[in-house]
Amino acid sequence: MLSANDDLLDPQLIRDPYPYYEELRAHRPVHYNERWRGWIVARYDDVFKGLHDERMLADTVTPYFQTRMSKEEREEFALTYEVLNSWSVFVDPPKHTKLRRIFGRAFTPKAVQTMRAIVEQFVDEFLSAWEGKGEVDMINDFGYLMPANVIATLIGAPRADLDRFHRWSHELNELLHGGVGTPSRMERAQTSIIEFKAYLQGLYDDRIGMPREDMMSWLMEVQQSDPEMTRDDVLYSCMLILNAGHETTQILIGNTVASLLAAPSELERLRREPHLVKSAIEECLRFNGPMKGTMRAIAEDMVIGDVPVKKGDRVMLLMASANRDPEKFPDPKRLDISRNPNPHLAFGHGIHFCLGAPLARMELEIALRELVARFRHIELAGEFHYENRILSRSIAAPMRVHVA
């Protein structure tokens, strides 16, 4: 058993955090981790309530900058702060309500149906390239390419620039997904933000007076009709959409395939009953989703479960643990692709529920459907490992698989 000094980057926890979560739910559902310096919440009910509690703030960026940085550092990283502080994921009401009202329209289930043809085209392109190959890398040869191309096309970024914004996103995510072991991640995140912003500004300038059929042009139109919105708001929003819109989906693809390969009978069942594809995706989200947890900052003294916490404390709500809580899910360790109901928290819940969930669901649906239809045999061709990150659970490339 681990202690209150649990190292959240312990290789065993990175490999398989679920036994640790089981122990937390049973023995210390809300506890303070001295090493991480915050509260860790493991049971479904507490995580669910936390995601809906307005006293738990999503703006964890401001306290981080205020309490963990010197004045000099705050000045040095002012741009990083400015960008993150504009992202709806790190903003609380009332500002959040307004941002969400603008961006909520971009990815509604109805809006993403108009993107279906784009997704189908890229899924076809990259899976067709697999024909006759035998061995492929699930991450670099598909998991990254498909969602990155889809989101770039939607925003209006040229395909040739894909590798650049992928690199910027990855560097930024070392900061945002809790890759705390990565050296100088603050500096690298800021460098990426500077380059990313300059790049997006180029796309923006190209569209002044010459709008195109893409999301950046649409956001520029919104900006023109809203006196409070600035050019930087448009650029930072595009940065968020490009970032959130590809790496988390890449992670979801890798984790979903990993879950199914580890449960061959369920994969066979999906082949026999392809209509289960949607519930299979929901089950893989529950079973091994992209985000293990999300952070909140406590706005006033309160109680979580039966544990008092103080204003200013930070909290990690473990969705990945909630999703295996036997109080909520019968036989939680079993992957059941027909599980219903499946009220998992993989996309969060409440006002910060993943804005891109409808797009991610559609991308996975098409990808999984085609993967199973085109390849009779899919199996691992070697070991893979997860990135050293506290908040996300992300398979590092390469993830080699045999396909035939």
Binding site: F48, K49, L51, H52, T97, R100, R101, G104, R105, F107, T108, P109, K110, P341, P343, F347, G348, H349, G350, I351, F353, C354, L355, A357, P358
Partner: protein
């Protein structure tokens, strides 16, 4: 035959409490203490109901019509 919107139904199993409906139309929708949205409108405005249904990220809002 004309159809009339008679009810706005929210599927509590699907609702994720994103508040898109309540944030956009606070007179018609409210997120309850249990985290799920409820239709609270005194009158049923079809334009509002349709837009809220479209805005919902999980399509939890459905509209029930009756023939006039």
């Amino acid at each position: 035959m004309k159809r009339r919107l008679v009810r706005v139904v929210i599927d509590a199993n699907a609702c994720v409490g994103s508040g898109m409906c309540a944030g956009s139309y606070p007179d018609a929708f409210q997120v309850q203490a249990d985290g799920h949205a409820l239709f609270i409108g005194k009158i049923i405005d079809e334009t509002i109901a349709k837009d809220a249904a479209e805005l919902c990220p999980v399509s939890a809002i459905s509209l029930v019509y009756e023939d006039d």
